[in-house]
């Protein structure tokens, strides 16, 4: 099993973790504020499509990335209108939203790019070794020879922790998710905070989709590219007990479980059915969930629309 300490394995794990972590950070804030975004799958997919579409129009992947974040923000806001302002049931809206986005991105892809998408070179977002840090043995290869988006996550994750636990904004977000009525009675504009959180969540999910298509898939958009990662994000968020730090760790573990499939299949393939490897990450997650057990406590108004 010497493969498990290989730097490339962990570098892969981190690369696979990036889009999941990006979306899960947004989802952490959303869930902390009480919004359970089943539609994160759709938000990510719209980001992926937006990134590919804008990048092929503008000929610039950075613009594409920004476009995806913007698309995510707009859809996050629309999603917010439904679940926050209209008090629609969050699970139902999420299920419907995912269907709509799946259909709409496919229709748009064919309507707007009948001859296929011409995504320009994604080299700007590809791996860039950091000077000095990148030269560190092992660590450098794992952590500092990555996409700039991964570097952004090194900053974003601690910032998320700071924001959530050390600022008034974070306090508001936590309060709104843990006692929406009480917060409202304390004069907090619960809908406004939840709307903002949904915009942030949409932006990050859009960026996650963009990362997936521009970095991980090298600019190739295919319908349903996200392929269930949104649900993984939901699981991860809850699993990590709504703490950005744990979310990051969990994302890397999921990434590692994914990356492990290559090693495992290459090692044991033929003796063990593939389906076993494919379900392994979920089995691991389930096992971890069972071991963690009662320690997790969800925000008490998670998924509950504010009726006031």
């Amino acid at each position: 099993m010497h493969n498990l300490v290989e730097s490339f394995f962990w570098a892969s794990a981190i690369a696979l973790a990036a889009p999941i972590l990006l979306a899960a950070l947004g989802e952490t804030f959303a869930q902390r504020a009480g919004v359970f975004t089943i539609g994160i799958e759709g938000l990510m997919l719209s980001g992926a499509f937006g990134a590919a579409a804008v990048a092929s129009w503008s000929g610039d992947v950075i613009v594409g990335f920004a476009g995806a974040a913007l698309a995510g923000a707009v859809l996050g806001a629309l999603y917010g209108v439904a679940v926050v302002l209209f008090r629609a049931d969050q699970v139902v809206v999420g299920i419907g939203f995912n269907l709509i986005v799946l259909g709409a991105t496919s229709m748009l892809r064919r309507g707007l790019f009948p001859t296929g998408m011409e995504v320009p070179s994604t080299s700007a977002l590809d791996r860039h070794e950091l000077p000095l840090l990148g030269d560190l043995p092992w660590i450098g290869e794992v952590l500092f020879d990555q996409s700039p988006i991964v570097y952004a996550l090194y900053v974003l994750t601690p910032f998320g922790v700071f924001l959530l636990f050390r600022t008034r904004v974070g306090l508001l977000v936590r309060a709104v998710g843990d006692g929406a009525l009480a917060s409202s009675a304390a004069g907090i504009r619960v809908p406004r905070i939840r709307m903002w959180v949904m915009v942030v969540n949409g932006t990050l999910a859009g960026a996650a989709g963009a990362t997936l298509v521009l970095v991980n898939a090298g600019g190739v958009f295919v319908d349903n590219l996200v392929d269930g990662r949104g649900y993984l994000v939901l699981a991860l968020t809850m699993f990590a007990r709504w703490h950005p730090g744990w979310v990051a760790l969990g994302a890397v573990l999921f990434g590692a479980a994914d990356a492990l499939q290559f090693i495992a299949q290459a090692t044991f393939g033929g003796h063990v059915p593939t389906a076993v490897f494919l379900m392994a990450p979920y089995l691991l997650a389930l096992a971890a969930w069972v071991v963690m057990g009662k320690r997790s406590r969800a925000p008490s108004d998670l998924g509950v629309p504010l009726l006031a």
């Binding site: 299920i95 419907g96 939203f97 269907l99 709509i100 799946l102 259909g103 076993v276 979920y282 009726l307």
Partner: protein, 379 residues
């Protein structure tokens, strides 16, 4: 404008010329409430949501090159307008309705069963195990009941696992059931690639279910008795929740586990019971597809009924009777979308949009209604 109106309504004497009330800013929610008045009655709002989504659907059809008249004609013929349309709609309704009714049991008992998809997948495994492997060696009349029973047992155990983990370890069933969905899908794959694979087949599928284990069909149509089972489940679940002591216990635990414990209800056991029943009913959806449509376990036989059924359950306010109506409508939409594609060459993607829209719009209508009711104190 709107502000003036409200002002007069609430009788506050505010000068018309006065600068905008600084306090007004944040309270956009009030305008939602005003909108919500459109949805004062549930049935009109349900109809309105469907009409709006179908309107958008029509628009998309026209954009995609069809004409509205054609589309309406297709919609008519693929639902109530032709025998085949009705049959297709009912066939598509069946699994969705079963899932909806199944999750209603869990949701009303306070268990957030997000795992209907997984439960129907393992249900399909059970049904195929019974219908294709066990049935040849048991007396004919038992083949179908045994297959259905096996499916229910599998589904119940799958859901029960989540419940047991909740009671034993306090694991939130939401996550557990979500993860079990993925595992179940790969479990089906494992089965059709390995233990249950039909060696003569060139695809990942099990042996064919033997004839006596098939769900009987109406005449020579493809409509199988799954719809009868589904409707029976609607009645049974209503009866269970509303008319039995167990149902009352389940609902009590669902609303308030703490108070239920003070009344000596066995919260742990009831939690497990709710999930067992829920899983068993959801599993019937998988059994119906296996024994009535595909006649074998086949990889990818479900196109996400699990989540659609969940949406139907919520849209029906967790009432089995309403779920029947809404599931029928969704069956019709699915049938229409399929035919639109066949006849007008409209892309399959449109179907997703036309299905998703009413789900979202109905949820908005229901939410706005609940908000208004709460504000006005009408329970």
């Amino acid at each position: 404008m709107t502000q003036r109106e409200t002002d007069t309504r609430s009788g506050t004497e505010v000068e018309p010329s006065r600068a905008p009330d600084p306090v007004r800013g944040g309270d956009r929610a009030r305008s939602v409430e005003r909108l919500a008045r459109l949805f004062d009655r549930p049935w009109p709002s349900i109809i309105a949501a469907f009409v709006v989504s179908l309107g958008i659907g029509l628009l998309l059809v026209v954009l995609a090159g069809g004409t509205a008249a054609e589309a309406v004609d297709v919609a008519y013929r693929s639902t109530v307008g032709s025998q085949q349309g009705m049959i297709d709609s009912l066939v598509y309704t069946t699994p969705r309705l079963l899932v909806a009714v199944g999750v209603i049991v869990a949701l009303r008992s306070g268990q957030f069963n997000l795992g209907a998809e997984g439960q129907l997948q393992v249900g399909a495994i059970g049904a195929a195990l019974g219908g294709a492997f066990l049935a040849p060696s048991i007396p004919g009349p038992l083949a179908l009941p045994v297959s259905l029973l096996l499916a229910m047992v599998f589904g119940a155990l799958w859901a029960g696992l989540a419940a047991v983990l909740k009671v034993w370890r306090g694991c939130d069933e939401l996550i557990t059931t979500l993860l079990l969905n993925f595992i179940a899908i790969y479990l089906v794959q494992l089965m059709v690639q390995g233990a249950m694979k039909d060696p003569s087949s060139t695809f990942n599928q099990s042996k064919r279910v033997i004839a006596v284990a098939e769900l009987p069909r109406f005449g020579f149509t493809r409509l199988h008795y799954g719809i009868v089972i589904a409707v029976a489940c609607v009645v049974l679940v209503w009866f269970l929740l509303d008319r039995t002591a167990l149902g009352l216990r389940l609902r009590s635990v669902g609303y308030n586990p703490v108070a239920s414990r003070y009344q000596q209800l066995r919260v742990g056991r009831l939690t497990v019971a709710a999930m067992l029943i829920s899983g068993a009913v959801c599993a019937l959806a998988g059994a119906g597809e296996t024994l009535g449509v595909q006649f074998r376990l086949i990889q990818g036989f479900s196109s996400g009924f699990g989540f659609e059924g969940l949406a139907i359950a919520f849209l029906a306010s967790l009432r089995p009777g309403r779920a029947l109506v809404i599931a029928l409508i969704f069956g019709g939409i699915f049938s229409t979308a399929t035919r639109l594609q066949q006849e007008l060459g409209v892309t399959a993607s449109l179907a997703y949009v036309v299905e998703g829209l009413p789900i979202v719009l109905l949820a908005c209508a229901a939410g706005a209604q609940a908000l208004r009711a709460q504000r006005k104190g009408i329970a």
